[in-house]
Every structure is written in C-alpha cells, then in structure tokens.
C-alpha cells in the first residue's frame, strides 16, 4: 500500500514557494502519513532536477510530473517523457484537452484533469457549456486548495461520468503538503510504478485536512 500526494509545486513553479528539501523535512517532522510526493510544476516538465539524494536521506519517494493548461482547465500529466514533450507545448495555456489526453495515451503517460470542480474554470464547469470530452478516465476529486463545496461537486460529477477520483494537496507552500493524497493498493517507488498504478485503477482519494 502506498500513500502519495499527487499534486504539489516547488519553487520551480512561478507561484510555488516551497523548496523540496523543506517538504521532506516537514513530512518527517510532522509524521505525515505520506510515502511520497509528486511535483507537478506549472506549464513545464522539470527534466533537470535530481531528488535522489533527498529520497535516500528522508525515505520519501519524490516523483516529477506536470500541470498543463487546456481549454477544459488544468490537467496533471504523469509519466512525462521525451516523446510527450514533443507532442504539444507544455508552456501554452490553450492546449486542447483532447490533444493532451491522446498524446499522453500514445506516449504511455496518464493525463488527468485537476481541481475539476472549480467554479467557472474547472473541467465540469466547461462540461456544462461545451459537453464532455472522450478519453477522460480519472480526475482529482480532492484538492487541498479547494473552497468549501468544490470537492463535493467534483465527487458528484466524477461519479456521474464514471471517472475514478484521486487526491492531491496542490500545495504551493511547505505546510500545505499532504492536505489531500491518494492511497494505492500497490507498492509504488517511482514514476513508472505510479503510471502503472493509475492505469490499474486500484486507488482512492484521501483527505487529511484537519
């Protein structure tokens, strides 16, 4: 069993203010029930940072992914590889969701809309005006930055469309890490394991908000 925070930002994101080492220190000090975190930096894939030393020192899995922007809201992309970064421009704010989903599938990655319940800008707000998009299989139903009612709306809509739900803190500062997370049946130690686990559909969103 593995519990991972699937959505977090470091100082690599324009509005991130958390150093990854400080995330690790905080998780350890506060004894948070997390086996690892996934860094989902805005509009980029951070190919250069190497967190293996931190993983070894703290015993926490640190994986890298991306949060990209589409015509149906923001999307987390797990399993980014060289093929995928050449499929569409991660820096653009107007990517087509359909394009992102198809590209992820072709390249062996997983793309999943995040904070889908956000008013006006989330996936389900777009669905209300433009209809659903084929290819969505899982969405982030628990987001640590959600306002009251948004996660509940995400869960209801996800159930309506038969989407699986996962959780992530969407932390931009150290002390918000682990607010929400995802509990997997499988043991996960790296991004390859994570992508396989997301495709296996054996997981559930969990909230640790007090």
């Amino acid at each position: 069993m593995t519990i991972l925070d699937l959505h977090s930002h470091s100082i690599k994101s324009d509005d991130g203010r958390a150093k990854v080492e400080n995330y690790c220190q905080w998780i350890q000090k506060k004894e948070l029930p997390l086996d690892g975190i996934v860094l989902t930096e805005h509009r980029q894939f951070d190919a250069t940072s190497d967190y293996r030393d931190l993983e070894d020192r703290f015993g926490i899995a640190i994986m890298k992914a991306s949060e990209v922007e589409t015509d149906y809201g923001h999307v987390l992309v797990f399993g980014v590889n060289e093929d995928l970064v050449n499929e569409f421009d991660f820096a653009r704010i107007d990517n087509s969701l359909a394009t992102v989903l198809a590209a992820a599938q072709r390249c062996g990655a997983v793309a999943a809309p995040c904070h889908p319940g956000r008013v006006n800008v989330g996936l389900f707000a777009h669905y209300a005006t433009k209809g659903p998009v084929p290819g969505v299989k899982l969405v982030e139903v628990y987001n640590g930055g959600s306002r009251p009612g948004e996660d509940e709306f995400s869960e209801t809509e996800a159930a309506k469309y038969n989407y699986l739900g996962f959780g992530g803190s969407d932390s931009h500062i150290v002390s918000r890490i682990g607010y929400c997370a995802t509990r997997f049946d499988d043991d996960i130690t790296d991004i390859t394991d994570l992508v396989a686990a997301l495709k296996s559909e054996r997981f559930e969103a969990v909230s640790f908000r007090s």
Partner: protein, 150 residues
C-alpha cells in the same frame, strides 16, 4: 486583438522603466506601521534607538505608481488590473531623513490561467538605494492584467 505573449516577453523583459525618488519622513513611517497593526517599538516609537521603516514600506512607493511604473509605449490594457503579489527583500534599514532612489525594470512577463481565467503577469522590479548608494530593498511586484491592445 490579444497580445502575443512571446513577443511581449522578448520586447519588454529587461526594459528599464526609469527611476523614482522618495524622501522618507517619520510621519509616513509611523502611518504605515500603525495602519498595518505594528506594535514593535522599532516601528512605532520615533524615540526608539532602532526606529526604522517596516519591511513592506517600499512596496507602497511602488504600488502608488500604478501603470505609470511601466515603460512608455508598453501596450495599454483594458479592463481591471490587479495586484498578484509582492516580494520585498530587505538589505539595509530605512530611517527618517533617507532619500531613496528606485531603479525600475521589467523582470518577467508570462501568462497563465487560474480562477480568474486567462491572466498576463508583468513582474516589475524596483531596486531601492539610499542617499549613500546603499541598497536598501528590492521589490518585485506581480501585476496581473487581461492584456488587450487597443
């Protein structure tokens, strides 16, 4: 017509916005400190040996300029602009009687979407020095607009 963000970035990042000058007096330091709920004597008691400005004091100098802080010929914006945040790094205390000079540049321009929809961020940087040419603060102002050229 929307502005191409890459063109905007290429054309304007690094551009200087001129400089400003500001005389620091006790009344203004006190007024800002009191308005922010300060209780530390260093900031509210002019008789304190360490009396000085609060950390954020120079941000009001920057904010007060509004869109005049931007370079001439910078594309005009329509609609509401909002303050996306400020960072201030403090190098040296600011005291009454100081004369500050602020050198201003455009540090970054990027776009993103969020709860307010599509937004363009202009990061405006002011480096303040005092009358002895000592750096006192560096202020980054993230100014958000839905930038549309006339």
């Amino acid at each position: 017509m929307s502005v191409d963000i890459q063109d905007l970035h290429q054309q304007w990042v690094g551009a200087e916005c001129g400089s400003s000058s500001y005389d620091v007096n006790t009344d203004r330091l006190l007024a800002f400190a009191n308005a922010c709920g300060e209780t530390d004597p260093r900031f509210i008691d002019p008789e304190d040996a360490e009396f000085q400005s609060t950390p954020g004091f120079t941000t009001i100098i920057v904010s007060g300029q509004g869109s005049e802080a931007l370079p001439k010929d910078f594309p005009q914006f329509k609609g509401r602009s909002i303050d996306g945040g400020k960072s201030v790094e403090i190098h040296h205390p600011i005291r009454p009687g100081d004369t500050l000079t602020g050198k201003q540049t455009i540090a970054d321009i990027y776009e993103k979407t969020g709860r307010s929809g599509k937004m363009v961020f202009v990061v405006h940087r002011t480096e303040f020095t005092n009358q002895d040419d000592q750096p006192v603060t560096t202020v980054d102002w993230r100014w958000i607009t839905n930038l549309v050229e006339d």
